[in-house]
């Protein structure tokens, strides 16, 4: 598994949060982070670039919601992993993401500690982060 320049997508409608994430991942040469302010922009860019290895998605986005974005990306990039950042504790959120195969460790409540995110990413790379089932086409 490549450990240099792994592509990470960050999708959050708060500019400062995007910037902070980018600055954070800037230190870690093994990652190559790109940020988008909405799901649609991220999807557009997917058409032109290769699949990211991981997406950090804010659940509350203008336009398309995080959940739908994830489902769409899984069609195009079945191996992509996801981490959710959420400000709310909506139960429905949790259960619908469980269907995708995400677990509690993939969900981060805002305000997000970026080092914890990093830990989770490292676990996933090391194979300790479980696997997502392949998406059901439909």
């Amino acid at each position: 598994m490549k450990s240099v320049g792994q592509k990470i997508f960050i999708i959050d409608d708060e500019k400062s949060i995007c910037r902070n994430f980018l600055d954070f991942f800037d230190y870690y040469e093994q990652f190559d982070a790109v940020a988008y302010l909405c799901a649609e922009d991220a999807l557009d860019s997917l058409n032109e670039t290769e699949c990211p290895f991981l997406c950090i998605v804010d659940n509350r986005l203008p336009g398309m919601r995080g959940e739908e974005f994830i489902n769409r990306v899984r069609m195009i990039c079945p191996k992509c992993r996801f981490l959710i950042c959420t400000g709310s504790l909506d139960i429905q959120l949790t259960s619908s993401f469980q269907e995708i195969g995400l677990t509690q460790e993939d969900i981060f409540f805002k305000p997000v500690d970026m080092f914890k995110v990093l830990e989770r990413i490292e676990d996933i790379i090391a194979g300790k982060g479980g696997t997502l089932g392949y998406p059901v086409c439909g």
Partner: protein, 531 residues
């Protein structure tokens, strides 16, 4: 002489003719009024009945024996004694004024008809006994039946009035005085009947807002629909009771009165208030949610600050070199000026704030009653952690000053519960304990809270014991009541313990008790059933 005789004859004829006219007129009158005439000789018992007398009962003339016994034989056995008594009383008194009685008589068809009998003595013998008494019977059956129906319905109304669970009051329209109240009114408002009859609402200080009475009476008077209007009243002990009032003018016993019915909704209002308060807490969750983004920025920027001041990061070294900065020196400066400490403070404060917000969100969201198997020790720890971050604006208590000891028995089973709700209960008890201890005029040297979790039959028992001022008996009784508070105005809602009581007993089917020794401390005990 012949002339005189002729004159006398003519006078006689004229008189006879006049008498005949009178008799005819009487006959016609009798027939016109359909009066059933009778004439009784009380001494012999003989009676003469007119034709009408027979026909109003459907008999043919002569069908009934013309005697007192003949009449008595047709009277309803329940009515005969009284009717006879009235007659005898009349006769014994010498037949003064007139005789009147109501009784049922059997008609030809065998039906009972209500009859009014009226008579008057017109002849007496030398001893003063009545020898002739004419009278008449009138069929009053229809009126009598209507009277009884009215009496029945009035009796029914009276029963409903008295037994209704709602308060009912009858007011005099003109004087606005209370004519009658039912039992529920007396119970709910705490009065005796004597205390309220004849008084106006104002005289017994009934209305919390006197203008309410004016508004209410005016509305009813105008004939406007007056239904379920919320009005607050004072009970006899000064406590407030909220009622939904409906009222209208009604006719009772021939008089127009004001009927007011009150449905007690005091408890309902309290629950409403509770819900509104809960709503407020829930919207607090909305605010908390909004705070998360800027807080996220604080945390993340602090984390980045730390990263970028590290002297061992390649990119940092590169950037420093480019401008000719000795990054080691910079790190030294930052350390000597404590900038690293400040950044760490910002970071850990942001992390702490994040944690508080998370817990706040956790238990302020609408409890969609997500029941899970909970580990009570964990819930208690969460509540403690929240309590430690809890200090009111006036800094009258600081939870961190209290030493808390938690003892958990071995193998305490998990309990099926809504975690956030139990956490809310714990936090409420802890807060109350802390506040009580802080408010003591002489502070305890070592304010302590002991928490013990153990198994007890088929429940898990949580005891929270403080060594605070304790609760006096008269307060202890009311401590779980909604809105009861011993704190000053504006401090607390007085809802905490009552909501906690509700959560433990009604939602989780457990028990919630308080025991206290004034001067020594207070213990709250919760029992929660486990599967």
């Amino acid at each position: 002489m012949k002339n005189n005789l002729k004159k006398k004859e003519e006078a006689l004829q004229s008189a006879e003719s006049a008498i005949k006219d009178q008799e005819d007129r009487l006959d016609l009158t009798m027939k016109a009024t359909q009066a059933a005439i009778w004439e009784l000789n009380p001494q012999t018992g003989e009676v003469v009945f007119s034709d009408e007398w027979f026909s109003i009962l459907g008999y043919t003339p002569g069908e009934v024996v013309p005697s007192f016994e003949g009449w008595a034989g047709l009277i309803h056995p329940d009515d005969l004694p009284e009717a006879t008594r009235i007659l005898n009383h009349y006769l014994n008194k010498g037949g003064t004024k007139y005789y009147e009685a109501q009784f049922r008589m059997r008609n030809k068809k065998g039906e009972w008809r209500w009859i009014l009998g009226k008579g008057q003595a017109v002849e007496w013998d030398e001893k003063g006994k009545v020898t002739r008494m004419p009278g008449l019977n009138v069929d009053i059956h229809r009126q009598k039946v209507a009277e009884e129906a009215l009496r029945d319905s009035e009796k029914k109304f009276s029963e409903i009035f008295m037994l209704s669970p709602d308060s009912i009051v009858l007011f005099d329209l003109k004087t606005e005085k209370i004519i009658e109240v039912n039992e529920s009114f007396l119970t709910i408002f705490g009065y005796t009947r004597k205390e309220v009859l004849g008084k106006t609402g104002r005289e017994i200080s009934l209305y919390v807002s006197p203008s309410d009475q004016e508004m209410l009476f005016k509305q009813i008077n105008k004939g406007e629909k007056t239904k379920n209007i919320e009005i607050a009243f004072y009970r006899s002990d000064g406590e407030v009771t909220v009622q939904l009032i409906s009222g209208r003018e009604v006719m009772i016993s021939g008089e127009l009165v004001l009927l007011i019915i009150g449905k007690d909704v005091t408890e309902l209002k309290k629950i409403e208030e509770m819900m509104i308060q809960t709503e407020k807490i829930v919207s607090l969750g909305g605010i908390a949610h909004e705070i998360n983004n800027p807080l996220g920025i604080v945390l993340q920027a602090a984390q980045n600050l730390q990263l970028r001041s590290r002297s061992d990061f390649p990119k940092n070294l590169e950037a420093a070199e480019e401008i000719g900065l000795d990054i080691e020196l910079m790190a030294k400066y930052m350390h000597s000026r404590k900038m690293d400490v400040f950044i760490e403070d910002i970071k850990s404060a942001a992390v702490r704030a994040a944690d508080i917000i998370k817990r706040m969100l956790l238990f302020s969201r609408k409890s969609q009653s997500q029941r899970t198997l909970c580990r009570l020790p964990v819930i208690v720890e969460n509540a403690l952690s929240l309590a430690k971050n809890d200090f009111d604006l006036k800094k009258t208590y600081d939870f961190k000053k209290i030493s808390v000891n938690v003892h958990v028995e071995k193998d305490v089973p998990k309990v099926n519960c809504t975690e956030t709700e139990i956490e809310q209960v714990m936090l409420n008890i802890l807060r109350n304990a802390a506040q009580a201890m802080a408010e003591m005029p002489v502070q305890k040297h070592e304010p302590t809270i002991d928490i013990r979790i153990s198994t007890h039959d088929d429940t898990v028992c949580i005891e929270i014991e403080d060594n605070g001022p304790g609760i006096p008996d008269h307060v202890k009784k009311k401590v779980m009541e909604p809105f009861f508070t011993t704190k000053g105005p504006g401090i607390g809602t007085g809802l905490g313990l009552s909501v906690s009581y509700f959560i433990i007993t009604k939602i989780h089917g457990g028990q919630f008790t308080v025991s206290s020794q004034p001067g020594t401390g207070t213990t709250f005990t919760i029992y929660l059933p486990y599967e």
